[in-house]
Every structure is written in C-alpha cells, then in structure tokens.
C-alpha cells in the first residue's frame, strides 16, 4: 500500500482554524471528553491488534512479539496509567502564598495549550504517534498527527482508524512527505512535538521561530553501553541478553534508544565477544526474529559503513547483507577507526562496534567527547563507577544493568538533552509538556496596606523592607504605630 503525499487543495489554514474553533468551544477541555478519547485509543489497540501487527510487519518486518512489547503493549500500559491519573494531573495545585498577602490563595492551574502538532517517526510508527497523541489529549488539546511517510502502511492505518475511534473534529491525521511537513509548519501551533533527525529538527525550529511556536524535539544520538568487567559467567550472560534486547531486538537497532556502541576494557573484550557471538546465534535461530532495514536508502547507508576497508577489517562477527530482503545480520566490530563514519554518525542499524579502553573509567571521557546522548547504559556492580557515570556524564537518561526498559517506567521522563533533544514526555510529563501551567493568585479586598502606594516616604520604605525580610513582628509593630 503506497502513500501518495496528498497535496492539500486549500493549504492547512482551514485545518488549523477549524481546530482552533473546536478548542475555543471547550469540547477538548472537558474531562469526560478526554476520558472518552483515551478509552477510544485503548479500544483501537485492543480491537485492531491483528491489523497493527500486519502493518508493522509490512513496514518494518517486525515480529508480533516485538510489536507488542515495544509499541502496542507499551501504549496500553501508558494510556491506562494516564486514565488512572487524569483527574489528579488536571486538578489545580495549591501553593504557598506569602503571609503578607493574607487572605490569599495561590494556585497553579493546568490548562490546554490549544492546537498541537505531532510528527511521528518511522521506526516506532505507532508508538511515536499514539504516545504523544494520548498525552496531548489528556492535557485537553486538539491534535494533528503527521505520521512518517516512510512507514506507509502504519500511516494509512492511522489515517483510516483514528477518525473511527477518536473524535474526528479534534483529532486529525495528515499524510505526506517533507513538503507536507513544511507546509504544516508555515502555520502557528500551540505546541509541536517532533521525533526524528537533528537536521529536520533544525528546519522545524527555524520555521517555528517565525510564529513563536514552542517545540519539543526528540532526536537521535549515539547511545553508548559501558560494560564493566563482570566476574560471574551468569552476570555476563544476562548482560549480553540485555544488550541483544537493547540492540538487535529493537527494530534491528533502528531506534533512538538502541545501544549504538559498546565501551569495554581491552582485557575483558574477548570474553564478552565470545558470549555475544553465541547469544546472537541462539537468539537469531529463526529468521523472522529481527526486523528488516527500513528501505534501500538506509540499507545502502549501513552497507556503506562496512565497505570502509578499515571498518570491514574490524568485523568479528556477521557482516553479511542481503539487498533483496533488506536484511543485515547482527554484526559486531572490534575497534573500528574512531574517525570512521560508523563512529561519528548515529548507526541506527544492526551493527555494533566495540571500543576498548585501558581502564573502564576511561570510558566516561570517551562518552563526553561526543554529543550528549539520549541514553547511557552501563553494566556494572561497582557502585562507585555508577556514581561517577551519573555525575560525570550528561544524557537524557542513564540505565544500569539493562537497556531500553526505562521507556516503560511511567514515572521517569523520556527525552534528550543537548543534541539529543529538548522537552520530556511519557506519563505525567506528557501531560505537562502539552499544558500551560497558569499561575492564579486570588486576593481579597479585606486587608489593605497603605505603604504599598505613593506618595513615597521613608516610613513606607521601612515598612516595605520588613515585608521583604518577612519580618512580620516589626511589620505588625509598624502597622500599629509602635515603630517607624
């Protein structure tokens, strides 16, 4: 099923104004409406599960287990979490008001931003569309979803099903390629969430600047995995299992959270590689257990990494590519040149370079020499090393002794820092990302302090000093005229 970029006949102006009107009518603000939409997403995920497995297999060759674990199941869990907490998140929060303003109430009231635009990405085409969508709806907004044209089956699925399960007045899907994306960005949005490459992220930000549109960016990066010397065979096996899960099991490495490369002490490297090889063999016993490469363009990009002579020489496992099926077998490299493309660009594929260091502590300096990644992974039992990694590196997140699972811990924010992005979401963070936290201060006419007003004199300044020093005793004395 192809996706023909739809050239909109009238531009997107009427789409945007239409959605603004829907917002102004108050429909999306109503909590009952929000609940019904979130339940609609759950129903979609349950009733259309088979069809979703099909489109994800069409687009990326994902096995249903992977599709469920990473997209559908994760979404069900997330939306249920949102439903359970919606009232609490949407409730005004009382905060302290200074005594001098008594009687007064201070509140932070979350309100919708208005009309939100979500750009999804091709590698988790369902998850990266529906997770932000659910957060934006929970916060009371109207939403436009622009799925990636590189996952056309999923895009078409969303376009035909979202209007059936959600309120089509307030939730829209727009299909198309980069031109459509650019046309959408010609308009003002109350918030944009973009998941994708830094290059496109820059374009989005530049266009958004004209309208002061606030943008959250979820970008890519090289996520390092630091592996400390592990003394027990069992620990090593578990670590390798989880590394496999964080690399090849995850859309064949085509994920922003996937492990990009490994850092390990040179002495420990051979043992690690042995276990990696045997685990890879076991886990890839059946052919359909790894997703394929998205398309020819990415296949070529990844194959070209291996064509570099010095990189090819560093292959210790795998390396074979199949242009017909667009598959590349799990490939492990040992110390490819640090200035090769594969070590300077985000790999986003099933090739895993291992870089050795003399001491494991040297790995932090290596990580710091590269742009801040979305995630840092480290397998170690050494508490000191863990502390150092947390304090001496910066990343969206850090996970010890596992990979990628932080994605499903609802209480943890998901997002990058520096070149890996800005803005965080998931769970309550999604709600907040798509909300305006309005400060509300309620005062009464009851108590008036004359020293607030001109004409000024030293006496009044003195009283004001007491206020700011929260010296209520002197203030009180001053008020009853006992001190000036």
């Amino acid at each position: 099923m192809g996706s023909m970029p739809e050239k909109p006949r009238h531009g997107f102006g009427s789409l945007v104004t239409g959605l603004q009107e829907v917002c102004e009518s108050g429909i999306t603000k109503d909590l009952a409406w929000r609940r019904s939409q979130l339940k609609g997403i759950i129903r979609l995920l349950t009733e259309k599960e088979e069809e979703m497995f099909d489109v994800l297999r069409d687009d990326l060759g994902k096995h249903r287990a992977e599709s469920y674990r990473d997209e559908i199941g994760a979404l069900v869990k997330s939306v249920n979490h949102t439903l359970r907490n919606l009232e609490r998140w949407a409730a005004p929060e009382k905060v302290q008001a200074p005594l001098v303003s008594f009687p007064a109430t201070a509140l932070v009231v979350p309100e919708p931003l208005g009309v939100v635009l979500v750009f999804s990405c091709w590698n988790l085409p369902l998850g990266l569309a529906l997770e932000p969508l659910s957060g934006a709806i929970a916060a009371g907004n109207a939403v436009v979803v622009k799925p990636s044209e590189f996952a056309p089956a999923t895009a078409a699925f969303l376009a035909s099903n979202l209007p059936k399960y959600l309120d089509p007045r307030a939730v829209k899907v727009v299909l198309g390629g980069p031109e459509v994306g650019e046309q959408l960005m010609e308009h003002r949005w109350d918030k944009v969430l973009f998941t994708g490459s830094a290059r496109t992220g820059r374009i989005i930000l530049t266009k958004a600047a004209k309208h002061l549109t606030p943008v959250a960016l979820e970008l890519g990066s090289k996520c390092p995995c630091i592996i400390d010397r592990l003394d027990s065979k069992r620990d090593t096996q578990i670590a390798v299992n989880r590394i496999f899960g964080g690399k090849w099991s995850l859309c064949a490495g085509q994920a922003c959270l996937a492990i990009d490369y490994i850092l390990v002490e040179e002495e420990f490297a051979p043992a690690l590689i042995e276990v990696l090889k045997s685990t890879v063999k076991r886990f890839t016993a059946t052919p359909d257990c790894m997703a394929r490469i998205l398309n020819e363009k990415h296949f070529k990009r990844l194959s070209n990494y291996l064509k570099d002579r010095k990189v090819a020489a560093s292959v210790v496992h795998g390396g074979s590519v199949n242009p017909k099926t667009l598959t590349i077998e799990p490939t492990i490299l040992l110390n490819p040149p640090l200035d090769s493309d594969i070590m300077t660009e985000e790999i986003f594929g099933p090739i895993l370079p291992i870089i050795t260091v003399k001491k494991i502590e040297d790995s932090m300096k290596f990580v710091r020499s590269k742009p801040k990644p979305l995630a840092i992974y480290a397998f170690t039992r050494n508490e000191k090393l863990k502390s150092r990694i947390i304090n001496e590196t910066s990343s969206g997140s850090v996970t010890f002794n596992d990979a990628v699972v932080q994605y499903v811990v609802e209480g943890l924010p998901f997002g990058g820092v520096g070149q890996s992005g800005s803005g965080q979401y998931h769970g309550k963070y999604s709600f907040e990302l798509f909300s305006n936290k309005k400060a509300v201060f309620k005062r009464s006419f009851l108590i008036e302090f004359m020293f607030r007003y001109p004409p000024w004199d030293n006496g009044k300044i003195g009283m004001l000093r007491h206020v700011f020093n929260t010296n209520y005793v002197l203030l009180l004395l001053g008020l009853i005229g006992l001190r000036r």
């Binding site: 603000k29 287990a65 469920y68 905060v95 302290q96 200074p98 009231v109 931003l113 208005g114 830094a198 820059r202 930000l205 530049t206 958004a208 600047a209 002061l212 606030p214 960016l217 069992r234 578990i238 670590a239 299992n241 496999f244 899960g245 099991s249 886990f283 016993a285 059946t286 304090n391 001496e392 910066s394 997140s397 850090v398 996970t399 010890f400 002794n401 596992d402 699972v405 932080q406 499903v408 811990v409 209480g411 943890l412 520096g418 936290k437 309005k438 400060a439 509300v440 201060f441 005062r443 009464s444 008036e448 607030r452 007003y453 001109p454 004409p455 000024w456 004001l464 000093r465 700011f468």
Partner: protein, 480 residues
Amino acid sequence: MEESRAAAVQELRARFAAGQTRPAEWRAKQLRGVLRMATEMEAEICDALYADVGKPETEAHVHEISLVKSSCLFALKNLKKWMKPKKVHARLMTFPSTARITKEPLGVVLVISAWNYPLLLSLDPVIGAIAAGNAVVLKPSEVAPATSSLLAELLPRYVDSTCIKVVEGGVSETSALLELKWDKIFYTGNSKVGRMVLASAAKHLTPVVLELGGKCPVVVDSNINLHVTAKRIAAGKWGCNNGQACIAPDFIITTESFAPKLLEALKKVLEKFYGKDPLLSEDLSRVVTPNHFNRLLDLMDDEMVSDKIVFGGQRDEQKLKIAPTIFLDVPLDSAMMKEEIFGPLLPIITVEKIHESFGLINSMTKPLAAYLFTRDSKLQKQFESTISAGGMILNDTSVHLTNPHLPFGGVGESGTGSYHGRFTFDAFSHGKAVLHRGFGGEAKARYPPYSSAKLKILKGVLAGKLGAHIQAILGFPRGK
C-alpha cells in the same frame, strides 16, 4: 572582538567541564556574593536605575533590589532540596529496580536582559542558573546603560568571574553572542527580537525561555470595593515603572454603566498618588528613551484616539515624562489597542455586559497576565476557565510575580517557559532519568526466538499481571 568573545565562552566551557560550577558550596558562595552586592551597593544601584529610567527610589528598592535579595535567600534556603535526586516509583514491570530523577546543569547558558527592570531581569535568571550549577553569560540591556555598566563593574567583584561573565553591548553584540552555541538561552524582551533569538537558537538546537509581553487586560466588575480596586490598578500601572512593565495593566474592560464611577475613582487615586501636576512628582518613572517617548506620543495623538482622552495627557519632552493618561472607548482597531502600550496610557473599553469582556480578551493573543476585579465567585470561576494567560490575579495586579511558589511566564505570544523560585532552577536544569536494575529478575520471555507462549507472558507483564511477572522471572516459557 569576536575572538575574545569566543575565547570567553570557551573558557566557560572548560571550567564547566572541569566541574567548577557543580559543588553546592560553589553555588551557595556565588548566591551569597550576589546578595552582598545587592545589599552593599544599594545606593549605587538606585542611582543607576534613576539614571536609566528615572525610577523612584521606592520602586528601585521594592521592585528590584528587594526582589533580587529574596530570590538569593530563597535559592540559598532551598538549594540542597532542589539538588537532591527525586525517587520515582518503579513499578512491577522492571522489578527489581530503583528509579530516580537527578537534576544536572545544562552547561553554559546565556541570559539576555531587558531595560525596564534592568537589575531584576538580569540577576533573577542568573541566580537560578547559578543555583542549577551552570556557567553563565549575562548580556544586560544597552538601553539601560548605567545599570549595564554597573553590573559589568560590580559582578566580577562579588562572584567567580571565571564562570559568570557580563558582556555589554548593543544589537550587534547580541547578534554575535546568538551565533555561538549555548546550552540554554533565557531572553526577556519583545516578541520581535524573541523570534530572532529562536531563529538563531534553532541552528544549534538550543532550548530557549522567552519572557515576552502582551496586552494585559483588567476586567472590572461593578461588584467590588471601588477605592481599593482603583488603588491596586494604579499601583500596578503607574507604580510599575510608569506602565513600562510586562505585567502592567495595559487596558481596562468594564461595563458602560460602571465606567464613569471607575474613572472618577481612578482620577481621585491618581491625584492622591501624584498630586495635581504629575509631571512634577518624584514618584513617577520617566519614559526610557526619546524613541519610546515618540512612540507613546504617536499612540496618544493618533486621531483615532486623541479625542477620547478623559484624564491627563501632559507631557514634557525635555524630561521625557508623560503623565498618567486615561482614554475612554478607543476604537478596537486603533494602534493603541493593537500593540502593547508599555507606557502610562490607559484605555478603558466598555461593554454592555461584563461577560462580553471574555470574548474580547480571547480575540487577542494570550497575555502574560490577566486581571479581574470582582466579588462574584461565578464570574471568577468563568474567568479562570475561559481566559488563557501566563498568570492571573483576582482583585489585584502584578503582585503574583513576588510569590516564588508560582511559575512566572507567558503562553503563546507572551512567551514560553517560566521561572521564579524553583522554576528558575528547573529552567536551567536537565532532569536526568536514572534507572538501576540488578542482574536478578531475568525474563527469558523478552528475547527471541519469539513464540506465542512468550508473547502471552509479555502481554501479561505489560498489563501488570502479577502471575505473568512470576512466570517471566521464573524463566517461562521453559525450553527454547
């Protein structure tokens, strides 16, 4: 010049990378330094503020110096609490595990300040940036040159100038700074320049906080304490740098029937505050520059509104002073009603019924602050739920910015991001998610080769079913 700028930023990067700004002791020391500066240099600061905008001494103390001091004290008091990692409930799914959010500094940040509160709007963001552990470059507004050079001279004496720098200059200097890579940019000013800041930041993917302006409306119902209302409106408008403040009331909306009463009350209050000839009062700021003076004159003398003056109108070009001036029922398409006034002109717009004010406000861009005076709780509720703004106050103006527990910032055209108190600390921090797992709890069902048995267990685990978790941890399904 360019080299020295780039070299200065390089130095900041190196010092940040070396960890100089991280320890709580260093941060507290800098905050105490700023506090000392605001205390020891009060007289010099008041002089500079008077030179720059003719700010009355009381406003200098109350709106700038005192707020800087309380900001330092609040940050010092809460620093350890803000820096502490926050534990997060890690659920059954990742058992056994612990999860935390650790706040870390962003790195090297740029604060661009404004001219109307040149001390406060420079130091308040810087205080938060320091508390969060960043290295900072402050670019004070060149339109307030006395304060700018005072900051450039004083700050290095009171804080660690290897990590906190002041860069003075005008448009070209600001543009040059914006070409460099920053980890965050904090800009206070107008939306035109705000757009340029965003466009520059886009090249480096730099996140930005924008504190902009807008037309802050005041809705005045008839069910109020009129005298107190008039005083609070006057204090928020003319008592705040003579209207040159982002949160100053821009215009009033009230009913046709109530307008005359409100007008009378305002006139009385204004005479009490500033005397019969306001141009002679020491308690009114002047207009900042001849440019702004002419801009305001254009707004006042615009033939669409010039016949709508009901109070004031006096001006002194020599002293750059304009008296508090009130207009009644200016056309909604006049320049005065289309742009942010930022001066001592106050239009009163009348409607038939007070509820019509909401539609009018919603037809404009979202303001930084919206104010409502009424005792009617139903009207209050409606206001709160219908009007979107950065902040809103019931029965007062401007004071919400002094509450450090409330986030201060705009929405839409009035800005993005917020600060004050803990919010400034957060604005200059990254909340890093940290998940600790052990080597226990290994679930075979996670890994290929996949099977429907494994899928069943995964479904159970994701749905939070305890039975599925137990199966997963015990290594089901057995065999391959």
